[in-house]
């Protein structure tokens, strides 16, 4: 098997770094650029060149020009990247709204690094932690190694019954995602999303134990075999059930369906839950009331930089709370540190990155930090616990639910 099969497909982008090194640690306060790479800005790594994008890109040249071979050493470096895409945003050779000359669109670091990861996995250099996770995903259709019926646990406390989309037709499939469904720390997101959809009188259902992981973790960690398998199973299931609209409250699932399934899901409209809420507020002119809360928003990389999805969460937060932007937001948002398989394989690194984000949030003097991704939520919450900081992390759906119900935030 050709060892760089996947990387060669994106060879042009992989060779386009001119090695100027501006992505190392640029400071540009007027654009709110305060460093770029979340990994480089930790003390966990030794910060040699490959711990930010230029060094990685030099290695890619070595691989493609036949001067380097794939190795475990190389894998350990490339997997210590959250593939957040911040380096791509700052690069002059990629399309970038922030800097002044979006002349060249050659650089696609996220796509390139994922391609190399696929080659590394095919060559036998997957990380043990990722292997274990993807094995569970293949077998149980979730990366948490839980039995499929556990995906229904979060519905037990609800005071209404959710339709089973595998048995009856629904207008919208609420695709819960493994992290919200299975992680105790983020099941509130699934519950709140279902409650919001129910209160907004949206005809929706879930797949419950039949929900198959979108495969994001496999794609990010280079296991294309597992990814393609679950992708195919999902497509077949959606088609069989006649699904036309999917709502997800997970940034990772949203990105995966929208960009990685792409044409294979072209007849299905994908919504992030924040879009539904934003549209509702816009169309129904709701709410007139605001929560007495100061909020800020953490842009998940999978929604923001990866999908250019910035406005709906802000529309909601501006409508229902006293919202302030974080210093590093939108295209410049600091990654939470969880993605790209980093939390699984390098939990200390992921936690340090989350700490850096939480320090920024704390500086905002806000009541709650809001996000729209269960994986960001989990990692940032871990950091809040670790640091013992008095800050509340909440998902946008949970916050909006407070508008629809009477509770302490009102």
């Amino acid at each position: 098997m050709e060892s760089l099969k996947n990387l060669k497909k994106v060879q042009g982008a992989a060779l386009s770094c001119v090695s100027c090194g501006q992505c190392r640690n640029p400071i540009w306060p007027s654009k709110n650029i305060i460093g770029v790479c979340p990994v480089y800005n930790t003390e966990y790594t030794p910060k040699f060149e490959p711990y930010f994008s230029r060094g990685k890109n030099t290695i890619l040249k070595g691989l493609l020009w036949g001067e380097l071979n794939l190795s475990q050493d190389l894998a350990n470096i490339f997997f210590q990247c959250t593939t957040c895409g911040a380096c791509e945003e700052f690069c002059h050779n990629s399309y970038n709204q922030n800097i002044d000359f979006p002349t060249h669109r050659w650089m696609e670091n996220v796509k390139v690094y994922e391609s190399l990861r696929a080659d590394l996995v095919e060559a036998g250099f997957a990380l043990e932690e990722h292997k274990e996770m993807n094995k569970a995903l293949q077998k149980l259709k979730n990366p948490y190694n839980r039995e499929p019926h556990a995906k229904l646990e979060w519905t037990k406390d609800l005071d209404f019954k959710i339709k089973d989309a595998s048995k009856e037709p629904v207008e919208y499939l609420y695709y819960v995602g493994c992290t919200s469904a299975l992680s105790l720390k983020t099941q509130n997101i699934a519950k709140a999303t279902a409650q919001v959809l129910q209160k907004l009188e949206i005809d929706f259902g879930i797949l419950g134990e039949n929900e198959i992981c979108c495969g994001s973790v496999a794609k990010r960690t280079g296991d294309l075999k597992v990814f393609n398998q679950v992708k195919q199973e999902n497509i077949e299931q959606f088609k069989r059930l006649g699904i036309k609209k999917i709502i997800t409250s997970c940034a990772g699932c949203y990105r995966t369906f929208l960009k990685d399934y792409h044409k294979d899901l072209s007849d299905i409209k994908i919504y992030h839950s924040s879009e539904i809420i934003s549209d509702y507020i816009k169309n129904k002119k709701l709410p007139q009331k605001k929560l007495n809360l100061k909020t800020t928003y953490h842009d998940p990389c999978h929604l923001g930089r990866h999908c250019n999805f910035y406005e709906p969460p802000r529309n909601v937060l501006n409508a229902i709370s006293d919202f302030k932007e974080m210093k590093r937001s939108r295209e410049n948002a600091l990654c939470c540190g969880a993605g790209g398989g980093v939390k699984k394989a390098f939990p200390e690194l992921a936690l340090e990155m989350a700490n850096n984000r939480i320090y920024e949030a704390k500086e905002m003097e806000i009541d709650v930090l809001v996000s729209t991704c269960p994986f960001c939520h989990r990692n940032l919450n871990d950091s809040i616990d670790h640091l013992g900081i008095n800050l509340k992390m909440i998902d946008l759906t949970e916050l909006f639910l407070n508008i629809l119900t009477e509770n302490s935030y009102n």
């Binding site: 001119v18 090695s19 090194g21 040699f48 036949g66 001067e67 002059h92």
Partner: protein, 499 residues
């Protein structure tokens, strides 16, 4: 103990490596073809650690190569030939002292220009280093700037190369000894404020030295209050003839440089570059840029609106007399000067031309300094060189070789040039020869004074016979005394062959 074990004892295991992919990532700089794979890469934290590493290198006769931001365009921050220890200095990135009485900042040399300027901008009225590094100042370090006599990152016409702002250094010599230069060499004066007064200017031995004489670990630089007022104007030179526009631009530049104004920067873009600004989907910031030929802009600063307006009027009059057409005031109208000064264009202007050849393009730097009146001759030189090499250029996916010009204090220019190519391993030799031939033409035809002294230019200088025999002997003798074991970048200028 072997080298890696000895260095581990100095910096700990985390900050030294023999990892092949990491070493490979240090084998190249910001040019597309020059390569040298080190055996070891180390990231020291203190001057003492640097000194100890250098001593180990001396004991074991291993070459060492200091590296800052790694943005060198001519192979100055990587080994020449494989092997050796690359010392990555970016862990040494602290601001150590700001003396507002003398207006001097002292830093560790691994801090970047953008990090330092951001730090200084927050102090009282807001300060900066005047000349703010090279055009890659977002990532380039103070040490790298001082080693390469850098200019281009703004302020060059008012403050000159960054080296001119240096008032003292701490250097680890090739033998591992640590010295301080400037006023701090006097053991009774611990404040840096001047390079002079203790005999010859020995700081200068390490300025523009591309790391051959020692490793700069600390530097003290003049700082200045950020000007309160600035004005900027951009002009179109309506002609499609490069020689003609360059002649007109030269007259304007000389008059601007002699204008006795607070001219902070000025730039000249040839027709080719100006055309590219329009062609390559540049939607912002120059949305309404109405240019028909080459482009010039200036930035003038001052302490009052009146002062700035008066100076701008003088400079505009000179431009008007040369029949330059002034563009609108706003960035969207094409006012490159405003963008350059207000929007960090100083650290972006060079980057927009990289990658013009599409994916996997690269640029071969041929930047040099020249008396301002030589600009038209450089236009001829580039045009003749392209004509002579069209066929070879097309073989390597190239075809373009051009430059941008900016003023340097007091009365000369920087001709920031490059050749665009599509590098592949198959074409390395052809590309290298093309690159060297332009450098050689610059040296031999016009006495080009390059300042990036990395692999290709250092070698070209020696091979072309540009250095007089007496001067070459002189610098070899200095090198021999400072670096008896041929440890520090021994292959630069072919030094290793000379002693």
């Amino acid at each position: 103990m072997n080298a890696i074990e000895k260095i581990e004892d100095i910096v700990g295991t985390k900050f030294v490596t023999e990892s092949e992919p990491i070493r490979y990532s240090y084998s190249r700089n910001a040019d597309p073809i020059l390569k040298g794979l080190p055996d070891i890469v180390v990231r020291p934290k203190t001057t003492t650690e640097v000194s100890e590493i250098v001593k180990v290198a001396n004991q074991l006769k291993i070459k060492i190569i200091p590296r800052g931001g790694g943005a060198d365009l001519t192979g100055g921050a990587k080994p020449i030939g494989d092997g050796g220890i690359v010392i990555d200095l970016t862990r040494m990135n602290k601001v150590l002292d700001v003396d507002l009485k003398t207006r001097i900042v002292t830093v560790e040399c691994g801090i970047s220009w953008s990090e330092l300027c951001d730090y200084l901008s927050k102090i009282e009225v807001g300060y900066y280093t005047g000349s703010t590094g090279p055009a890659s100042g977002f990532g380039a370090t103070i040490g790298g700037g001082l080693s390469n006599n850098s200019v281009g990152g703004g302020g060059a016409q008012m403050y000159g190369a960054v080296t001119e702002q240096c008032v003292g250094l701490e250097v680890v010599l090739p033998t591992g000894e640590i010295i301080e230069t400037g006023s701090r060499a006097n053991s009774y004066m611990k404040r840096p404020f001047t390079r002079f007064g203790l005999g010859p200017d020995y700081s200068a031995l390490f300025l523009g030295d591309v790391g051959i004489h020692g490793i700069k670990t600390k530097a003290s630089l003049n700082i200045y209050p950020i000007p309160e007022y600035a004005a900027f104007n951009t002009f179109d030179i309506e002609t499609t003839n490069t020689s003609s526009s360059a002649k007109r631009a030269t007259n304007v530049m000389i008059k601007w440089q002699h204008s006795n104004t607070k001219l902070h920067d000025f730039f000249f873009y040839t027709e080719t570059y100006a055309r590219l600004l329009k062609m390559f989907q540049i939607k912002k910031p120059f949305v309404k840029m109405d240019i028909k030929g080459a482009v010039m802009f200036y930035v003038v600063v001052g302490n009052s609106i009146k002062e700035v307006e008066n100076d701008a009027e003088k400079l505009n009059k000179i431009a008007s007399e040369a029949k330059l057409r002034k563009l609108g005031d706003q960035i969207e109208d094409g006012n490159l000067g405003k963008w350059f000064y207000e929007e960090n264009g100083r650290w972006q202007w060079a980057h927009i031309y990289w990658g013009l050849l599409g994916p996997a393009g690269g640029s071969l730097g041929t930047c040099l300094k020249a008396p301002t009146d030589l600009l038209p001759s450089y236009v001829d030189l580039y045009q003749n060189w392209i004509k002579k090499n069209t066929k070879e250029l097309s073989k390597v996916g190239g075809g373009a070789a051009d430059f941008i010009v900016f003023g340097v204090h007091p009365n000369y220019i920087d001709v920031t040039g490059g050749i665009a190519v599509k590098p592949t391993p198959k074409h390395v030799e052809t590309i290298y020869n093309l690159w060297k031939s332009l450098i050689s033409d610059q040296i031999k035809t016009l006495g080009g004074i390059h300042y990036w002294m990395g692999e290709i230019i250092g070698h070209s200088l020696v091979e072309s016979g540009a250095l007089t025999k007496e001067y070459l002997n002189f610098i070899i003798n200095i090198k021999k005394i400072l670096d008896p074991n041929k440890i520090m970048c021994p292959n630069k200028f072919h030094f290793a062959n000379y002693y």
